[in-house]
Symmetry: C3
Subunit: 669 residues, 3 copies
């Protein structure tokens, strides 16, 4: 297993390198990531490359047994490049240039930028393809960060036209699919196409809400922008491979980020890594959001991953987040490992005295003196060197899967139906309810093999194709259990609303018809009751007419009092649950208890406990439980069966005690 | 009476048209509006006109007895036009182009756009001037929507200079009227004039607050923008008339919209229509706001009107509003008729599967299956075919009038005196108080014949002329009763503050002098008590010194405790009430009770009841009462006199019962 | 002492001037400020100067004994100038022109604008250098108002490059000091430098947050902008002096404004004046904020000052603020005098009927009739003509000083550490606590002579130099008492974070090390207790390890429960207090009680009383107390010693009674 830090030798005098490397070794480090913002240092002027300093830095680290993940530095083009070719800059939706001074100041569709990118990557590849200590490559840094996936420059317009031509072949087909007849927006040729920029119909000039643009145009623009990044990443990967690099290649993803289709971006990568900053999470359920983020990342390629930037101190740009409490760095590290991390790289080794991230504290403070955080990470390093064997290539086996779709996320984002509706929050709500019951869920794309799962959840899966319909029907026929919610199946893949009676593509599966719906505004709420007790909706109510389905709950208010709100339909050998409304946390938790029991899913622990997380992994036929105490209290957990505590090496039978922020790794005996 | 829907044949396959028309007929429809967004379909490329599809669509409808209101399609110029002449686009106050992709993406002052507009209208006129089924024309669609009346392009600047030259004749006169000596803004020639755009003195760049511009410039710019739209509309009307069209011409107004002087816009129209979406109203007093909107519209030409878009389902763009409850579509329809609608056109016939209005539901859902909403509208159609005789050419006779002024609205808008002051809300407050007492008020411009009314309200009528002063004085002298409020009479018509002692132009009429005023900030409130009991102000207090007037209420707080807050002055044969402060709802209601009794106005019903609306109409010498229950409860209404229930045909003497959202139309016997 | 009003003869017909002047004389006026927005009147077209009207106006005033402060009119260049040279306009961070129509529509770095400025100032200087009634000059008006100090035009870019070259000499030095190695931002030449404008890393496009720019760049840009204004002001001063003007020169500052380094701006001025609008203050502690503002202004040159615009009525642009209550104009005037004002000029003489400031009421209303406000000011004038002797050249003697630093303010502004942290608010909090105890504090720059003070407060003094460190150490060594807070001493003067162990430059002085810190987010609070009782922090907690220091308070929560939060260190003959966390008002007040007692500072009055302000002044060896009652109640104040009431001329021994908003000026006997 890899364990280390993100390191910027260019930030420090050369004479610091050796001391840094020694301290790293004492913390049991075996890897650093390096280089991803050092373009101006690698190529200080056009065509003049200088890698001597980098060689030396790598050497200093290697001497202490530390290997290198090498980043391509394209996230921060140097000033000379931008001055030679100012049209590499992005433009915002108002046509205004997003200039120099931060990072990611380039458009991925700039042909010139692509050429310069290939040159620097090619130079690095030549130098480091056979380097014994360079064990992996990272392409660029956090693609799409800060709305940089979406640009409105002329290069983008031209590429978008080509992308559309490639997709639709004929302009008539595009007009038909987008429905440009609406508001007289028919295009006669590819030349007439536009980017969804500032228009007469923007509701707020300043906040750039573009929701009056054609929904087909918007969705395709989001897809195009994502594809442009995928294409740009592939350019770099091709350079590396064509130059003879055989190391695995990764990119560092961001948490719950939705401007890119991360599934597509992942296809060209050997492994996924991501940047985990718990500090940005909301409230005391942050651990759920982080757990979910890990599962999203593991689901990208359905395999283990790295955390390429793992928070190791208080951090922020102009505002500093909370300081991690004693035990939390360790807790978060074990959480990452439990969910599939095989590499943990802490960001950053030492806080940088200059630049926009002066307040982004790492393991060491600016003064470089090892303190509490260093010691805690040193302890983790010590422990992990023992546990490495059970971590690498371990598997997380889940009974349930939540389907995540970026296309659907995008469509819901600009047309959310109701101010209170949020696709991601809905998925989170279902994920949390399962987690509450200690039921592990994978989060995967609809391309996954559904047959692995006893229960599949497709919340608000609204954009549909016939292929997906067939796939899902087959899954249920074969005995699968499926959850469908309100706002599902109403649109085709190009964002037109279906003329089928709702729930459209899911009508047969669910065995219901939606007679009417009610979007709840101005703080209205509606209650319903049934299998989950009583629940409250504040966003949306489908008024259901069961055809073949059985009613599990009914509304108790509004003009549709007594109508069905939740149903179940037997279909083939399986069951389809239709949840026609949003529900409060208590009701949804209770409803999922019922459905998971019906689906014969057994929780990892029988007693729900707030703040206690359990993850089950498998390695070489053995089962491991990771117990994670996210509370600041000591808790005692009852266990069924016998376990070996992998850290204390004691055998445990009835219960285990975890200190505040404590963890245990148990092997089932 | 006309009854129908807004229909977009271009959105649907030709083979759907017949079925649609038959369903319409079954709902007792006799009219559709058509064509107003179909330019790219009518003129698919420059100069090539195609009306064959439109002929066919009209024919299909006509076969079922349905007549046509034909819209000119200038609200959505096609892409080819914009590409040929990109300077038709509007510019925002930052000089940024508001481009293609929504609607209304044109500047009404573009000479080129005017030419293209004339051509398409002329082509339509030639084709449809004698068409037996085209019974009316609608010009464009919702002029000014989404801030499209105000553009900052060079065409606008040049036109504005001409407009000013025409108004002021000499630049010295303009300098004097605007007071450009302030901050050294003197203009030496027409060429030096500006538009009130982004300046060094904008307080918020993003939100584009322009309040540091000269108040005369701002007011004239608002007037100019409104006049530009009036001029542009007139161009189209002239084309129609010059081409030989004799059908009546209308435009669809928006609710409580204030970027255009709707009185001026209405002068060139044969009848007014408007678009009524109750979904946008706030809280449980939405019916009051809608009632007031109807009355504003009826007041434009002081005659009956159409609702050209009447909400018929849940609607919204990215967010869906509430679903109308059973009975509400009918209730809202009768409310419209009660207030003067002679045409009801539901928007839209069937929800459109594509475009920005995918969520704007109509009578039919996307799947085209008639459900509850269709059946309710069918019932209305059946009823109205019986009632048509008493609706057409009926009159609404009101004892009171509220004067509305767009010039004043504009002036108050950019200089509202106090953050809590809102001209429109003030008018609404007075309207509501009268409505509470079942007293019907017209809402009219100051150009109206005041002598029809027992009581005239001129809330915050601040911009004044000597002519208006004389007119109002004559009204009161002749026995009229007049209400004036704080922030009245302090400015001349070009937005300079008068040097007269306040209340300026109203000093003689009111018989008071304003010694001081107090604008209430930081949540301060001030109480006063008198004829209305006790009331609370939270916006403004004039400290009054009665000269001839009598004191009706006094302040009980602040340093002006004991000073007069409300007065009445006898003037000629009439009375003038000066209300020197804002008041809470209870106080204002009580005060208006007193004033209306003093003015010998008799309520339509003696007992106020929240949610019950009563409207009185007259036709052929007979009196009709429309009773509208806006609550979700059954209510019983006591009546004086005997009535014939026009729907049940029963005679009613002491009381009538209305179900939730129920209505009754009673003829006085 | 000077007493008068801001007057705009150009706003009024010539025939009004005499009447105005007579009314002024009756109010005991002896001065008016004039001319600062009248460029278009002085130079109606290029090169044609017209001062005849101004001569006449001055003459009309002089006849009544009124002297003139003459403003240069460069805050509002005329339209002809802007039309000839549109590049004098500023550009915002998006590159958009901030055009004509308000005021301050020019860039101080425009070479052309500088030339025109010199010409008009030179013309005025020739005319008025020897004028017997022109007693002082005001340069321009409110430099920097509404973000006009910071411009992003090409002139600014070029000047910024020169400024940087001048400061850093070599580009390598700049790169080192800014740390441009971070994110590959190395500059190879001065040509490559940028302004911190709209970039790919802006977090909000609309609100233009630029915090991802390099902190060194940002700080130098702020300094450069301030220096540009200082340079521009100096240009005008030089013209006046070179033309032979010998009158004193001032500029009117704004309250608590931080876009300019007011200390630097003040160096070229003979005296400082400022514009005091109490209306803009928050809540019922407005008098504290105003008191502090006066002290900031007095601290600029450490001498007495003028209020060049003193609020004299309700005022605002589009919104009117509260009307001053009877007595408040007098109270605020005496407050100004108490804090060092030797000139009181009310803004404005008479409310202007035109322009953006129509609602900015002055002494007279639009109608020109003297009312309550005139009478109150007349009374003040009468009183002050008696008191003038004790006011001029009087001194305010304070035992304590708060160090204010614009460089630190800027640095904290774009990187405030925590959303709840505000440098200015922190200074205010300490100022208020001292004021509560009736302890007078000067507010001065770090360049002051510290030895005058028993206690010096340096809250959040974060940017440091070795020179400052030595100066402060010497002060304490010699027996001074010093307060240092959290977020101090962590950065060098170019905004890099020090590699010293924190509190960095203050480590030795404070005798503590910061082991860790905790930035409090999401509403977390932490309590600590000790010498001040119990206190609550909601922004920041330093976890202190006392080395030589003694612990005065400890945290009672979080993982650092029991660690030191406040310490005191004996250093040489003095003491250094380190306050490691923010504290609530009660705790900080209690803590400052302790520290001031320890520092042997005696309060002016022994009994704190909310709303009662006391200021001590000295003139010719006599001590004067100004007692100011900011409450609306009558209060009685116990006194020690015997006093002469300067207004009633009575002797007072044990107590004095002040009416609501009343004041007393007592001479110690």
């Amino acid at each position: 297993m890899y364990f280390g830090a993100d390191y910027y030798p260019e930030h420090w005098p050369r004479e610091f390198w050796e001391g840094h490397a020694k301290l790293m070794k004492e913390a049991h480090f075996n890897v650093v990531r390096i280089g991803e913002f050092a373009w101006s240092k690698m190529e200080p002027e056009e065509g003049r490359f200088d890698f001597a300093w980098l060689d030396e830095a790598i050497e200093a680290l290697a001497r202490e047994g530390i290997q290198i993940v090498l980043g391509t530095p394209t996230a921060s083009p140097p000033k000379w490049l931008a001055d030679l070719h100012p049209d590499i800059y992005m433009k915002d939706e108002f046509g205004l240039t997003r200039g120099f001074g931060g990072r990611r100041h380039y458009c991925q569709n700039s042909p010139i930028y692509r050429e310069y990118s290939k040159k620097i990557v090619s130079a690095m590849a030549s130098r480091y393809k056979d380097h014994p200590h360079v064990i992996a490559w990272q392409i660029d840094n956090e693609f799409g960060w800060n709305d940089t996936a979406r640009c409105y420059c002329d290069n983008c317009l031209q590429e978008f036209k080509r992308w559309l031509q490639n997709k639709y072949t004929s302009i008539d087909e595009l007009n038909k699919e987008w429905g440009t007849i609406f508001w007289s927006q028919t295009y006669r040729s590819w030349d007439e196409l536009i980017l969804p920029a500032h228009s007469a119909a923007d509701l707020n000039v300043g906040a750039a809400k573009r929701y009056s643009h054609n929904p087909g145009l918007l969705l395709d623009f989001y897809r195009f922008c994502s594809d442009s990044v995928v294409f740009y990443q592939k350019l770099q990967i091709d350079v590396l491979r064509n130059s003879g690099c055989s190391q695995p290649i990764t990119h560092n993803y961001m948490e719950h980020f939705n401007q890119l289709d991360y599934y597509n971006l992942g296809k060209d990568l050997d492994f996924i890594s991501w940047d985990n900053y718990v500090v940005y999470e909301w409230g005391n359920k942050a651990y759920e959001t982080t757990a979910m983020a890990h599962d999203v990342i593991r689901g990208i390629k359905e395999k283990n991953f790295w955390v390429m930037e793992q928070q190791s101190g208080p951090c922020g740009w102009n505002h500093l987040g909370d300081t991690p409490k004693p035990g939390q760095l360790r807790l978060w590290t074990y959480q990452a490992i439990a969910h599939g991390a095989e590499g943990i790289v802490y960001f950053r080794w030492r806080a940088c005295p200059v630049g926009a991230e002066q307040y982004w504290y790492g393991i060491l403070d600016h003064d470089g003196i090892p303190r509490r955080r260093y010691r805690e990470i040193q302890q983790i390093g010590r422990e992990l060197s023992e546990l490495s064997d059970i971590i690498n290539d371990s598997k997380t086996i889940s009974d349930a899967a939540i389907i995540q779709s970026y296309d659907n996320w995008w469509s819901h984002e600009f047309q959310p139906h109701n101010p209170g509706f949020d696709y991601h929050r809905l998925l989170h709500q279902y994920y949390s309810a399962l987690m509450h019951h200690h039921i592990q869920a994978d989060i995967v794309s609809i391309d996954t093999d559904l047959s692995k799962y006893k229960l599949v959840l497709m919340p608000a899966f609204n954009l549909m194709t016939d292929e997906i319909q067939t796939k899902v029907e087959n899954y249920v026929k074969a005995g699968g259990n499926l959850i469908i919610t309100f706002r599902s199946g109403t649109r085709n893949w190009n964002n037109s609303i279906t003329l089928k009676t709702l729930p459209g593509y899911f009508k047969e599966l669910t065995g219901v018809e939606i007679e009417e719906f009610d979007s709840l505004n101005f703080g209205r709420t509606v209650k319903s009751s049934g299998i989950f007790g009583e629940g409250t909706s504040c966003v949306w109510c489908d008024i259901l007419r069961p055809l073949q389905a059985e009613t599990l709950a009914k509304y108790s208010g509004e003009f549709y009092r007594g109508e069905a709100s939740v149903t179940v339909n037997s279909y083939g050998n399986g069951k389809v649950y239709y949840i026609g409304c949003d529900l409060d946390e208590k009701a949804i938790t209770s409803l999922l208890k019922y459905i998971t029991v019906e689906s014969q899913i057994k929780p990892l622990l029988s007693q729900p406990m707030d703040g206690l997380e359990v993850v089950r992994k498998m390695k070489d036929g053995k089962i491991y439980l990771f117990l994670l105490n996210h509370t600041d209290a000591t808790i005692e957990i009852s266990l069924e069966g016998k376990y070996l505590d992998m850290l204390s090496c004691e055998t445990i039978s009835t219960s285990v005690t975890l200190n505040a922020y404590g963890i245990a790794v148990l092997q089932s005996l």
